[in-house]
C-alpha cells in the first residue's frame, strides 16, 4: 500500500505500508495538514497523485474514495445536539443511497465500531456532553464505521490529557490498519509509528524508522531545539529529551 502525494506546498513523497502506522511530524505550518487534506480529498492537489492500494483516488468518485479512506480532521465538535449513535452512523454515509434507511449491517457496524473504541452502549449519550477523550474515541469509531483501508488522522491527541492521549494511541495501534497521522508530540510519534516522515517548510526532509529519523541533528535543524535521543527505560523506544533551557542558536539560519 502506498500513499504518495505532491502537494501545493511542494514535492512530497509519503508512504504507508499496509498495516503500518506512518507518522507525519514537523513544526507548525510545515504542511502536515495540507498533505493529509489531499489524502481525504478535502483539497485537490495541483500535481501529483494519492495512491491507495495502487489506485489513484482521483480516478474514484468521492463516495468510492470515502469507502477506502476515512479521516479524523481537526474538526472536533459540533454545536448541534447529536447523539453518539448519530455521529458514528455518519460513517455509513458513503454506503447509503438517498432515502434509504438504516439496515441491519449499519446497526451492527456502528455497534462494532463503538465496542472497538471501548464505548459500547454509549449510543444514546449526547456527543457534546462527552469528555475530550471520549469524543475522540467516538470520532475514531465513526471513521471505523466507514470500514476504510486507510485511516488518516490530523493531530488526534491535541487537547487531550496524557492518559487519554495514551489510550487513544493504544487504540489506534490495536486497530492494525494502515494509518497515516500527523502528530505534534515527537515522543508519542517515536513510540507509536512504524515509519516517520519529517516535513519542513513544505518538503519532506527525512523518512524512515523513528530510530533512524529522530537524531539530535535533525531536531536541531527542523525544530530548532537542542535534544538528546536516548533509549526509553520502559519500552526501549527512542526517547527525546529536550533541553528546555535554550533553543539552538543556529536555527535562525
Amino acid at each position: 500500500m502506498a500513499l504518495s502525494g505532491r502537494t501545493v506546498v511542494s514535492g512530497v513523497h509519503i508512504v504507508a505500508e499496509e498495516g503500518e502506522i506512518a507518522g507525519l511530524i514537523g513544526p507548525n505550518g510545515s504542511g502536515k495538514s495540507t498533505v493529509l487534506r489531499t489524502v481525504y480529498r478535502h483539497l485537490r492537489p495541483q500535481a501529483g497523485r494519492v495512491l491507495v492500494g495502487g489506485t489513484d483516488v482521483r480516478t474514484l468518485t468521492a463516495v468510492e474514495s470515502a469507502r477506502r479512506v476515512a479521516a479524523l480532521p481537526q474538526e472536533r465538535g459540533t454545536d448541534f445536539e447529536l447523539s453518539v449513535h448519530e455521529v458514528v452512523a455518519m460513517g455509513r454515509t458513503p454506503y447509503k443511497r438517498a432515502f434509504s434507511g438504516e439496515d441491519r449491517t449499519d446497526t451492527d457496524t456502528v455497534a462494532a465500531a463503538l465496542s472497538r473504541v471501548g464505548m459500547s452502549g454509549a449510543g444514546r449519550r449526547r456527543f457534546s456532553a462527552l469528555s475530550g477523550g471520549e469524543r475522540q474515541r467516538v470520532l475514531l469509531a465513526r471513521a471505523l464505521a466507514q470500514d476504510p483501508q486507510v485511516l488518516v488522522l490530523d493531530e488526534p491527541t491535541n487537547h487531550l490529557d496524557v492518559r487519554h492521549q495514551v489510550e487513544l494511541l493504544t487504540l489506534l495501534r490495536d486497530q492494525r490498519r494502515t494509518t497515516l497521522l500527523a502528530l505534534h508530540d515527537l515522543n508519542a510519534a517515536a513510540s507509536v509509528c512504524d515509519r516517520l516522515h519529517v516535513l519542513h517548510r513544505g518538503a519532506v526532509v527525512a523518512s524512515g524508522a523513528p530510530r533512524e529519523v529522530l537524531t539530535p541533528e535533525l531536531l536541531a535543524e527542523v525544530f530548532g531545539v537542542r535534544a538528546a535521543v536516548v533509549e526509553h527505560p520502559l519500552t526501549g523506544d527512542p526517547l527525546i529529551a529536550f533541553d528546555h533551557r535554550g533553543a539552538v542558536e543556529a536555527a535562525a539560519v
Binding site: 474514495s65 454545536d79 438517498a98 434507511g101 449510543g123
Partner: protein, 352 residues
C-alpha cells in the same frame, strides 16, 4: 451489552420520531379545525364540517349559513398557515445545517429581507401581476432571497472559514439595509391604501389567503421536502464540518450550492404569499431536535409538521387576540420568538 439490546435502544430514536409524527399530525388536525371555527364570528363544528363537505364535493354554498366564510376564507387561510409554517420549519432546519449554526434562521440571516425587497420591487415596477399563481412575485422574491443569501455568505466567509457570530451579524446588517430600501420603495409609491397593505404584508401576514394562493407554496414545500430529504445524510455530515463531510464522500461545494437554491426558492415563495415571518425557522428545529435528535432523516419531516402546527396556532392568536383588529402574524412570532432566541443564546453561553 448484547448487540440486540444495543439495536433496540438505537431503534428508540426512530420510534420516537414516528410517535412524534403521529401526535403532531393529530394536533395539526385539531389546530386547523379550531382555526376554522374561531374568529370574528364563531362557527359551530357541525356547520364547519358540512361546509367543508359541500366545498369538497363542489356544491354551491347553502344559503343562510356561514359556508362562504368557512370555505372561501377560513379554510384556505388555515391551510396556508399550515403550509407556510411547514415551509418555515424546513427552511430553518436546512439553513442551520448549511451555515452550521443552530441559531440561524432565514429571517435573522437577511434572506427574508432579500425576498421582500425582490417582491416589493416587482410590485412597484408593475411586474407583480404575473398570473393568478403570483409566479412573477415568487420569482422576484426567489431572486432577492438568493442574492441576499449569497451576499451574506460571501461577507461572512471573507478571509476564509466562517465564524457563527460574523455570519449572524452580517445577516442582520445586510437584512436591515435591504429592509430600509424596501420601506423606501413602499413609501415612495404614493398610494396610501396600497402602502398600508404592503407594510402589513411585509410584517408577515396570512391575510391574503385564497384557494389560488395555496398552489405555489404547497408545491414549493413538497418539492423542498423531497430535495432536502434526498440530501439528509449529507446534511448530517455537514454538521461536523466541511472536512469531515468531504472525507465522507460529500461534495461540499455542490451541496452548499444546491442548498442555497432550495432554501432561497422556499423563502422566496413563502415570503411572496405571507411576507417575512420571523423566528419560526429558528424555534421549530430546536424544539424538534430535543424530541427526535439531530438526524435530518427524522428532523426534516418532524420540523415541517411542527412548523405547520405552530403557525396555525399563531395565526389563530393573531386573528383573535384583539377584539376588533387583526395582528400581523409576524408580530406574534416576533413576540414569542425573540425571547426564545435570547433564552437559547443564554443557555449556549452557559455551556461555553
Amino acid at each position: 451489552m448484547a448487540p440486540a439490546a444495543v439495536e433496540r435502544r438505537e431503534r428508540g430514536a426512530g420510534v420516537r420520531a414516528g410517535r412524534a409524527g403521529i401526535a403532531l399530525g393529530a394536533v395539526l388536525l385539531v389546530a386547523l379545525t379550531a382555526s376554522v371555527c374561531l374568529g370574528s364570528t364563531r362557527v359551530p363544528l357541525g356547520e364547519v364540517w358540512s361546509a367543508v363537505e359541500r366545498g369538497l364535493t363542489g356544491q354551491a354554498p347553502a344559503p343562510g349559513t356561514q359556508d362562504l366564510i368557512v370555505w372561501r376564507l377560513r379554510v384556505p387561510r388555515a391551510l396556508l398557515a399550515a403550509v407556510v409554517g411547514a415551509g418555515l420549519g424546513l427552511v430553518g432546519t436546512a439553513v442551520q445545517a448549511l451555515v452550521r449554526n443552530p441559531l440561524a434562521d432565514p429571517y435573522l440571516l437577511g434572506i427574508s429581507s432579500g425576498a421582500s425587497l425582490g417582491a416589493v420591487s416587482a410590485i412597484v415596477l408593475g411586474a407583480g401581476a404575473g398570473g393568478a399563481l403570483g409566479l412573477g412575485l415568487s420569482s422576484a422574491a426567489f431572486a432577492g432571497a438568493l442574492a441576499s443569501f449569497a451576499l451574506v455568505w460571501a461577507f461572512a466567509r471573507r478571509g476564509g472559514g466562517f465564524r457563527p457570530l460574523r455570519l449572524v451579524l452580517a445577516g442582520v446588517g445586510i437584512g436591515q439595509f435591504l429592509s430600509g430600501f424596501t420601506h423606501y420603495l413602499v413609501l415612495r409609491s404614493g398610494d396610501e391604501q396600497q402602502t398600508h397593505g404592503v407594510l402589513f404584508w411585509l410584517m408577515g401576514s396570512l391575510g391574503g389567503a385564497q384557494w389560488t394562493t395555496l398552489a405555489a407554496p404547497t408545491a414549493a414545500v413538497l418539492l423542498g421536502l423531497a430535495a432536502l430529504l434526498a440530501r439528509a445524510r449529507a446534511l448530517n455530515a455537514l454538521l461536523m464540518g466541511d472536512e469531515t463531510a468531504a472525507s465522507l464522500g460529500v461534495d461540499v461545494t455542490r451541496l452548499r450550492r444546491e442548498l442555497f437554491v432550495v432554501t432561497s426558492m422556499l423563502t422566496g415563495v413563502l415570503v411572496s404569499v405571507s411576507g417575512a415571518i420571523g423566528f419560526v425557522g429558528l424555534m421549530v428545529p430546536h424544539a424538534c431536535r430535543m424530541v427526535v435528535g439531530g438526524d435530518h432523516r427524522r428532523l426534516l419531516p418532524v420540523s415541517a409538521l411542527f412548523g405547520a402546527v405552530l403557525l396555525t396556532v399563531v395565526d389563530l392568536i393573531a386573528r383573535t387576540a384583539l377584539p376588533d383588529q387583526e395582528l400581523p402574524v409576524g408580530v406574534v412570532t416576533a413576540l414569542i420568538g425573540a425571547p426564545t432566541l435570547l433564552y437559547l443564546l443564554d443557555r449556549r453561553l452557559e455551556r461555553g
